[in-house]
Symmetry: C2
């Protein structure tokens, strides 16, 4: 017998939990580490390791260009890539609201698997908890991940130096607007897909071409503005960006205008900001543009001594304005 | 200004997220790896590593003997210890329902910190997400963890061999009954605290004394019965336990009788089942009894060829009965 909805007993740790894991999860993610099914996965590994985690609560769980599973895999892969690590092993943990259609859970599993395969990472451990109807909203996902940092790679949010240039690998705001377009009560018609993607291969190519990448950050929650503020603060520098250089889709700009959002604060899930030595900026731009996730890469700004911790944008119409970190919450549950 | 409740903006990734992290979380867990605040923590490590994760949805979040924070730290520490690893680095990720009193969140942080300190692990990375009121039930926690397995240690759920003896480090069912005693609508008066505890030091002492520990498992969800079934299945052996040897508090037995529960299926959070070579069983029992978390340790059974995958219990009154893995869900959201 096969249940067509998630039941409380799927999270009991007992028979139905084992059935779910053995029939739905293991066959998809099968690998020797996961199959041992011990309390922890065991593997040989050494060097400079990176370790990160994120929980995902995006609503709706399916959106144009992805779903919560793909998002959770890409998010953790990208966080590892942002310190220059090659992502290797991920955990995948679910908190499910009782009653979730099994078909929806399976779709999330399949897209998680596809994203993991694209990134070249293995799911080696995980967990399933189920809460009674009303105790959670459909599905929450947590991923944690481990990667290895190649020798000689030193990337940190504190690495930006005056004179460096600021690059981005493409258009901003796509994820936030794509998710928002499917929100209950907000349903609007727009041809924008989430940019949700694993960026580790792009980063790998960048680091192969140049070791003068000082700083990488993925502008997720809080958008480009917040990511740049974090870099400016942690590096003790001023960052100056040029509005006209920032790639953005017309549809996203139009949606932002309609909704009253500043696209600088809208979440991205397949973007990275790179702060690099000026002499390698053009080379890195070329490398980025050759990657499917970097075709619209651009140099959008520069690092100066200026006021440490400050981000300034030269607007399209001339004057500069200070770009603060996100206040309040623009778009709850965007990731 | 200090908010007295968790707001949506605490999960925005923006200013209020930074404030929460910098003012509430960092000061408590402060360590050089966490303080870098990059997208991933970076550290040197090598050898045979263990990696695990669990999400925690226990309700209520505070219960006699612990809370969801202590539970989350101990759970992941214990999962690492169950493969013989020395736990080192943990992640700590929160999904919070908007409106949670800040004081409750701080209590959870403080007990997480105390548990991490006792276990000797560092929190090196984490995440905070907030969902609107009604989208989650107060607070969910995820931890993932990394540990190192000493040379020569080979522990797995598939390691039990005929002739081995089965040990447990104390009384069963305390966690499940303690949590249940505080459930809304079930509130009953009982003097039992959760056994929630980090068991890594106990395991370390056991492995120092003997390398003939073949198998370790913490009988959490699904209880002792389910843990033994997992070992019997994975090792292809029969396990025979003796009811009269299994340590259990009178109060827990009484509560189970009142509620119609079989204590063999009630969750534990500070217990381990060890399957060990018979020649070292008495030595290991002594070692366990010297540890604060093993004072009531006992030899409760033996491994036989018998019917592979079967667990049998010789009851107090003579006849044997087959002990199945948990069916259905006895106690949802017990961990």
């Amino acid at each position: 017998m096969r249940e067509d909805r998630i039941l409380l007993a799927h999270g009991s740790g007992g028979r139905l939990s084992h059935k779910l894991i053995e029939e739905e999860i293991l066959p998809l993610f099968r690998n020797p580490l996961l199959e041992k099914m011990d309390d922890a996965a065991v593997f040989e590994l050494g060097g400079r390791l990176a370790f990160t985690t994120d929980s995902y609560v995006v609503t709706p769980i399916f959106f144009p260009g992805g779903d919560i599973g793909k998002l959770a895999i890409c998010g953790t892969v990208n966080d590892l890539a942002m310190v220059g690590a090659q992502p290797l092993y991920l955990s995948l943990s679910f908190i499910i609201e009782e009653g979730l259609p099994m078909e929806e859970f399976e779709r999330v599993l399949r897209s998680s698997k596809a994203a993991a395969a694209e990134a070249g990472v293995q799911i080696v451990t995980g967990d399933v908890k189920v809460v009674a109807s009303g105790g959670a909203d459909k599905l929450f996902v947590n991923t944690a991940g481990i990667g290895v940092i190649p020798d000689g790679v030193e990337i940190s949010g504190s690495g930006a130096r005056p004179g460096d240039l600021v690059l981005i690998n493409g258009t901003i705001g796509d994820h936030g607007i794509a998710v928002l377009s499917k929100r209950e009560g907000l349903d609007f018609s727009i041809e924008v897909e989430s940019d949700c993607a694993p960026l580790n291969h792009l980063v790998f190519e960048m680091l192969k071409a140049s070791r003068k990448v000082h700083c990488l950050r993925d502008p997720t929650r809080g958008g480009l503005a917040t990511a740049l503020n974090e870099i400016a603060r942690r590096s003790g520098v001023e960052i100056r960006i040029f509005e006209e250089k920032i790639p953005i889709r017309e549809e996203v700009l139009a949606a932002c205008e309609m909704l009253g959002f500043d696209p600088l604060y809208v979440a991205n899930e397949g973007k990275l900001v790179a702060v690099v030595a000026p002499e390698d900026a053009e080379l890195l731009l070329e490398v980025m543009r050759r990657n499917p996730y970097g075709r619209e890469a651009a140099i959008i700004g520069e690092v100066r001594e200026g006021h440490p911790g400050r981000v300034v944008m030269k607007t399209r119409f001339g004057p500069s304005r200070i770009i603060e970190m996100l206040w309040g919450d623009l778009l709850p549950r965007i990731c």
